[in-house]
């Protein structure tokens, strides 16, 4: 695809440093960046809260099996879909980083205002998981390979492979054993038990209830590899969906004539 004469003229004008055109375009960049940050935060945060939900809300749901398996799969969806337009339409390998950062901002706003100040839950119970390293690795692999297949294998896989290692430094202190009212539990269990969630009893926790029998107790490792495999497929699927949606084009705006404007003629091309 090549530029039209008008587009070439525009590109020439905005490529002149410090020109009015360049300044206008830069201001436009900032407006879009701010709007995009809010939009991605809202979309990715609600997607993550509805799907990862309790696994991310509570320290005593962050187990070695379901949390480690499911969270990366949920994480990779929107960044993979956004990777196509950002990388292929703009040459920006930042989809995962933008999504991860927006999610972290949204989560902390929610944890501080909703969980802590409004509902009195301590931060030790409700801290969100670390998601950025895996999503950043996804961007970096994509940029280095510039190939969607390799990006799926290495980038998609990295979202899962980095998840448990990124979180273990903050989770480990909560997995230290404690004997509380004569029962062996860990610190996370005690925190979850002590700070009452009236409608979330112990049995509702969707956590590992027994080790994966034939893997020598290595739940985290097995869960991580399985999750990475699924993430590779998900990355590719959602990258394709992003590609499809980005290339849909537009349809003529029939309403323009109602407000006295000339009808669109060629937007569907």
């Amino acid at each position: 695809m090549s530029l039209t004469a008008e587009e070439a003229k525009l590109l020439k004008a905005i490529s002149v440093p410090n020109s009015d055109a360049a300044k206008i375009v830069r201001n436009f960049d900032w407006i879009v960046v701010v709007v995009l940050l809010f939009a991605v935060t809202a979309a990715f945060h609600i997607h993550f809260m509805l799907t990862a939900g309790d696994w991310d809300f509570w320290v005593d749901w962050k187990d070695r099996m379901y949390w480690v398996t499911l969270t990366p799969m949920i994480l990779v969806i929107i960044p993979a879909a956004l990777s196509y337009p950002l990388m292929h339409k703009l040459g920006l390998p930042i989809a995962g980083t933008v999504c991860g950062l927006c999610l972290v901002i949204g989560e902390w706003v929610s944890r501080i205002s909703g969980f802590h100040l409004w509902a009195y839950f301590p931060y030790s119970l409700v801290w969100p998981a670390i998601v950025l390293p895996g999503l950043m690795l996804m961007d970096l692999f994509y940029m280095l390979f510039r190939n969607v297949f390799l990006a799926s294998v290495f980038g998609g896989g990295a979202v899962a492979m980095a998840f448990a290692p990124a979180n273990w430094p903050i989770l480990a202190p909560y997995h230290v054993p404690v004997v509380h009212i004569e029962q062996l539990v860990n610190v996370a269990d005690v925190i979850g038990y002590s700070f009452t969630r009236t409608a979330t009893p112990e049995y509702l926790r969707f956590i590992e209830r027994g080790t994966l029998r034939t893997f020598g107790g290595e739940s985290t490792l097995v869960s991580t590899f399985f999750s990475a495999f699924v993430c590779m497929i998900l990355f590719y699927m959602w990258w394709r969906i992003g590609q499809f949606l980005s290339n849909l084009g537009t349809i003529p705006n029939q309403l323009k004539t109602f407000v006295g404007l000339e009808a669109d003629k060629d937007e569907a091309k």
């Binding site: 587009e7 905005i14 390998p93 009195y120 950043m136 970096l140 230290v176 005690v190 009452t196």
Partner: protein, 415 residues
Amino acid sequence: MTRLYIKVVMMLVLFSVAGLALAHGERNQEPFLRMKTLHWYDIKWSIENDSTVQVNEEVTMSGKVHFFSRWPEQINMPDTVFLANATPGPVFVRVGTWLNDVPMIQSTGVEVGRVYDFKVVLKARIPGRHHVHPMFNVESAGGLVGPGIWMNIAGDANDFLYGVETRTGIVIEDLETYGVENVVKWHAFWAILAVLWLAWWVRRPLLINRFLWVKDNNWSALITRTDMMVGGILLVFIITVLIVANQITEKTYPRTVPLQGGKVEVQYVPNPEEGLVEVKNHTSEYYLPGRTITIDATITNNTGKVIQIGEFMSSNLRFVNKKLPIAMAGVDEGYPAELVPNKGLILSDDSPIQPGESRRLRMEATDVAWETERLSSLLNDPDSSYGALIFFFDEEGNRYTSEIYGQILPTFFDK
């Protein structure tokens, strides 16, 4: 602007007429869940109703809970239950819970038709006036709450301290803040790294320029060798940080255990006196204009002793036979007054029931509580039946409990 004013006024009107929602919505629960599942009795609180405790002070709730034999078919049997407290969130910290003296951090299974002793110890955390109940979460049924009282917490929430000592010797002084600094530190580290990576790209023209360059077939020129080099360094840096951080963590916390998800076994304590008095329901009516449930039943005394009816109890409502002093003595002064109807239990025949005797009589339980507790809505249930416990007392003060169950026939108006 006028519309805005109207909206504000309407909002203020709404706030002024709306009642405060202070309790836990227990009245909203279907009557069958409250009448035919758990029956709580002998409930004791370590403090009086509406009295005040200081932040960090402990309070105890204890008593008995009976799991009804005719457990509703539409919910799971109580094979997975969790003893808890119904409070407005973590305003109290749950220090310990015991069922028949077995610690109940985990869930357990119970048998229907059995009675269990429970105890819940709480520690005051957030100042305010709170409604506090004992509660069982039952899988598929949700939270089933016992009678609640008001507790006031005074003091400063910042003074609250709740700690534990780990099995590895770490003394955690405050569970609220334990590990939080580390969490924030790591989140900040990764966020800063992400911001730096974004800044690397955002410092250059972002949208229109790049879009046009891509359209002009210059996509590959948008990512420079420097970008690739910086990206490669960042990739290696991230992987290195992950490896090193995990190695340090393993050394710092060599002994960890996964989240504990086992189930606890609780044996019921056999109660030889239970069921010695047989109660057979013939007809039960709810007289809507008078808020009265009338039960026509035959009572057979197999205890070998002379007994009298002391109390009819369902859904935490206690209709006590006021003519029987020992039954009245069972109602503590601090027990929530709204759950002990004034008129009590009226019997068609008050005389003692002799050993071996079968007597047919009528019991009347009248109170507006049938409406205010929203129990009369059981008439709208597909299975409009009730369940209750009846307490009998012999002359020596021994208590016998029996279940009663039957369909409710409505009487909507005076004939």
